[in-house]
């Protein structure tokens, strides 16, 4: 049997990795993937808690998260493509027109 906390720790590690990735990476696609990593970390906790509390709704939430992630990926990648078309770069540090 695996303790609940192990799953939570695994989810936390994944989430933390996602946050770190978001913070340290410059490639916009990688940043996007970091977000997906975070989502998955959360999903794992959802499923773990679903098993822990014997409530299926935790798994249902995972589906919704996946749907959101899919929608986000579709739109986000489309945005990335159009950004790339106009700016010729994927480096977020160079896509910084939205300031002051």
């Amino acid at each position: 049997m695996v303790p609940l906390s192990y799953y939570l720790i695994l989810g936390g590690i994944l989430f933390a990795c996602g946050v770190c990735g978001f913070l340290i990476r410059r490639n916009i696609i990688t940043i996007f993937m970091s977000i997906e990593l975070m989502l998955n970390g959360v999903n794992l906790t959802f499923v773990a808690f679903a098993a822990h509390w014997q409530r299926l709704s935790g798994q249902i939430f995972v589906f919704f998260v996946m749907v959101v992630a899919a929608a986000e990926a579709a739109v986000g990648l489309a945005i990335i493509i159009s950004v790339y078309r106009t700016r010729e770069t994927l480096n977020v540090d160079q896509v910084n027109l939205l300031k002051l």
Binding site: M1, V2, P3, L4, S5, Y6, Y7, I9, L10, G12, I13, L14, A16, C17, G18, C20, G21, L23, I24, R25, R26, N27, I29, T30, M33, S34, E36, L37, N40, N43, L44, V47, A48, A50, A51, H52, Q54, L56, Q59, I60, V62, F63, F64, M66, V67, A69, A70, A71, A73, A74, V75, L77, A78, I79, I80, I81, S82, Y84, R85, N91
Partner: protein, 174 residues
């Protein structure tokens, strides 16, 4: 015992993939690391009895969303990320944060490990059960998400289509 072993093995793959995602400088490697993470997470889900979630995880996440990522990387021919000196902020804040996180993790492990074991497979996340839940208790959110998907599709088409391009561009499925 075998559960714990499996958990540890795939958990290790997960963490390794996540860390690899961080350190790889080529987005395609990061993407593949992420796929590995997702696949091993599917196994974790299976261990938790969420078989349908696991399958969907593979089909949707690994099979569709990540394909989209890889596809985009290929389409844009994204190269390696250029190296920069690590920023001072990252050093000042990041390393202490890391330490704190590590300490916290260790503390949690020491204090809470083995206290509450999750019964693997005790909760049958079979398609029938999930579907029952989805189409009864969560029917409205379900329908709303379908609207969300529709909007996302249209948004993706509008965003990605070149103004003069024909309608048959790649990368417009979600």
């Amino acid at each position: 015992m075998i559960h714990l072993t499996l958990f540890l093995v795939f958990g290790a793959i997960c963490v390794a993939g996540a860390v690899n995602l961080l350190v790889q400088r080529h987005p395609i490697n990061s993407a593949l690391s992420l796929i590995a993470v997702l696949a091993s997470l599917a196994v974790e889900y299976l261990l938790l009895g969420a078989e349908f979630v696991a399958a969907v995880q593979v089909i949707v996440y690994a099979g569709a969303i990540m394909v989209l990522f890889v596809f985009t990387i290929m389409l844009l021919n994204a190269g390696e990320e250029e190296r920069t000196r690590g920023s001072r902020v990252a050093m000042v804040i990041g390393i202490p944060s890391l330490l704190i996180g590590g300490v916290l993790l260790a503390w949690v492990l020491v204090r809470h490990s083995g206290t509450e074991a999750v019964l693997a497979g005790a909760l049958p996340g079979s398609p029938e059960n999930v579907a029952w839940m989805l189409f009864h208790e969560f029917l409205l959110p379900f329908e709303v998400t379908s609207v969300l998907i529709l909007i996302a599709i249209m948004g993706a088409v509008v965003l990605a289509a070149r103004p003069e391009a024909t309608s048959t561009g790649p990368g417009k499925e979600s």
